[in-house]
């Protein structure tokens, strides 16, 4: 204590000198005058840095790394929680990149599900034939990338069973979907084969309504909402990365939960 008081003069001077030397002028000013204020926070966080091409590229690279990290974390035997009927969200929200009135109108009579890519039997399916396949149902939580979630009840064909029936090459990397609303999506094979992944044809016990994706959607409680395509018109199996409507704008591709 005594020493410190004796040397407080030179010590202080040395400290200031060292500080000036070690902090670049601009950085020091930014930190002291702006960095500590909310205004500075705003200045530093303008969206301009996200628009910088090299920053954007680096962020996309990390997102690809996150795809691999999530694939590694994904446990195909781990089930998403299921809920009692009493917990179903009423009404289940409509959500799309367009308003509800613009949801596509698909004619169930003339509808044919097209198959393509690495699939042995590419014959198209009528809605009636799909409805004749064994059906199961689930009450699970739909989690939106925005953060909100809702519990709903979907029924349909276990997707892994459907893939087996059509002779899909399950050693392929991706399954792609093309939809009547021009939405497109793709998922990884392990998620496609997950026991809770359903080719959903019904909601709450009745035919899947138009607002929820008539004639069918892919329901995956292990993935975020945007990964679950609605109004599916064709399904293809491929090793070429197909991307997705939102993924091509920056959302993470794996999008798992």
């Amino acid at each position: 204590m005594q020493d410190q008081n004796d040397h407080s003069g030179p010590e202080r001077r040395l400290i200031i000198k060292a500080a000036l030397k070690e902090m670049p002028d601009a950085a020091r000013r930014l930190f002291l005058r702006q960095g500590l204020t909310l205004g500075g926070l705003a200045l530093l966080t303008g969206c301009s840095i996200s628009n910088n091409a090299s920053v954007a590229r680096a962020l996309r690279q990390v997102s690809k790394f996150n795809d691999r990290a999530q694939a590694w974390l994904f446990d195909s035997s781990r089930l998403a929680p299921t809920y009692p009927k009493s917990m179903i969200t009423q009404p289940f929200p409509f959500n799309a990149f367009y308003p509800e009135a613009q949801a596509p109108v698909v004619d169930g009579e003339t509808y044919r599900l097209e198959l393509g890519g690495m699939i042995a039997d590419k014959r198209p399916w009528t809605l009636e034939a799909l409805n004749r396949l064994p059906q199961e149902s689930q009450i699970t939580r739909h989690i939106c990338v925005e953060g909100w979630s809702a519990i709903g009840e979907w029924g349909g064909i276990r997707f892994s069973e459907f893939l087996r029936r059509i002779g899909a090459d399950t050693s392929a990397k991706y399954i792609g979907f093309k939809c009547a609303d021009n939405y497109y999506q793709s998922i990884d094979m392990p998620t496609a084969l997950h026991p809770q992944t359903l080719l959903a044809l019904s909601y709450a016990g009745s035919t899947l309504p138009r607002k929820y994706g008539f004639p069918m959607k892919l329901r995956m409680p292990t993935k975020l909402g945007y990964k679950n395509p609605k109004h599916i018109m064709s399904i293809y199996v491929t090793n070429q990365y197909p991307g997705g409507y939102w993924e091509d704008q920056g959302y993470n591709w794996f999008g798992g939960s």
Binding site: C47, L59, N66, D75, P81, G147
Partner: protein, 213 residues
């Protein structure tokens, strides 16, 4: 004597005796500043993600957020999370291995805590020796370490609620994990604000965190 630079500690024996080693070792300073960067990105991008579907009845002004839109904010958030977690683990391992965690942040005696808290509220807390942490300070550091653990745990539930069932149940389900994540963020923000005010009041601490002395 007075104007000589501290290149040779022998020329200023008193100072050398007083500071035989750095106040903050290099690994602490490194992890501190990397953590500051990670937290800054996590907070500002997290606020943008919050705004996409606010848990409470308020929004966070867009001017304070990072990422421009939800997709951009998510990219930042899920990139900086690696820095936050890896850097945080390095800090914890080094703190435990060197014994600094216990040496600097323990013990906290209840009596001392009460006395220091009273002194702090009156603005009489001594800080002649920034090497020594008072009881309130020690508690604040334990708080922020624990709070960060809660932030990461609740964040894991939000990111991968199916893959971490135990954590999910611990948080009371997906929805309450969102609330926990938000409150833990608020706690961290509170710590940062107090931390910054104290740095302004005792600027020597900033210097020590930059160059170690």
């Amino acid at each position: 004597m007075i104007s000589s630079p501290p290149t040779n500690p022998g020329s200023i024996p008193a100072l050398a005796r007083q500071e035989p080693q750095a106040i903050h070792p290099w690994w602490l300073r490194m992890t501190h500043w990397l953590n500051a960067l990670a937290v800054f990105i996590m907070l500002t991008s997290g606020w943008r993600i919050y705004d996409a579907s606010p848990v409470f009845s308020f929004r966070i002004p867009t001017s304070l957020t990072l990422g421009g839109w939800l997709g951009g904010a998510l990219l930042w958030h899920f990139a900086a999370m690696w820095l936050l977690v890896v850097n945080g683990l390095i800090y914890l391992v080094a703190s435990v291995a060197t014994g600094r965690l216990w040496r600097q942040l323990l013990p906290i005696r209840l009596k001392q805590l009460a006395a220091d808290l009273a002194a702090a509220l009156k603005g009489h807390l001594a800080h002649d020796d920034i090497r020594h942490y008072n009881a309130v300070q020690k508690l604040a550091y334990w708080f922020v370490i624990a709070d960060t653990v809660v932030i990461v745990a609740s964040g894991l539930v939000l990111w991968k609620s199916v893959q971490f069932p135990l954590l999910r149940e611990l948080m009371g389900g997906y929805n309450s994990a969102r609330v926990v994540h938000f409150y833990a963020m608020s706690g961290l923000l509170g710590f940062i604000l107090v931390h910054l005010v104290l740095v302004i009041l005792v600027p020597r601490t900033l210097l020590a965190m930059i160059r170690g002395r």
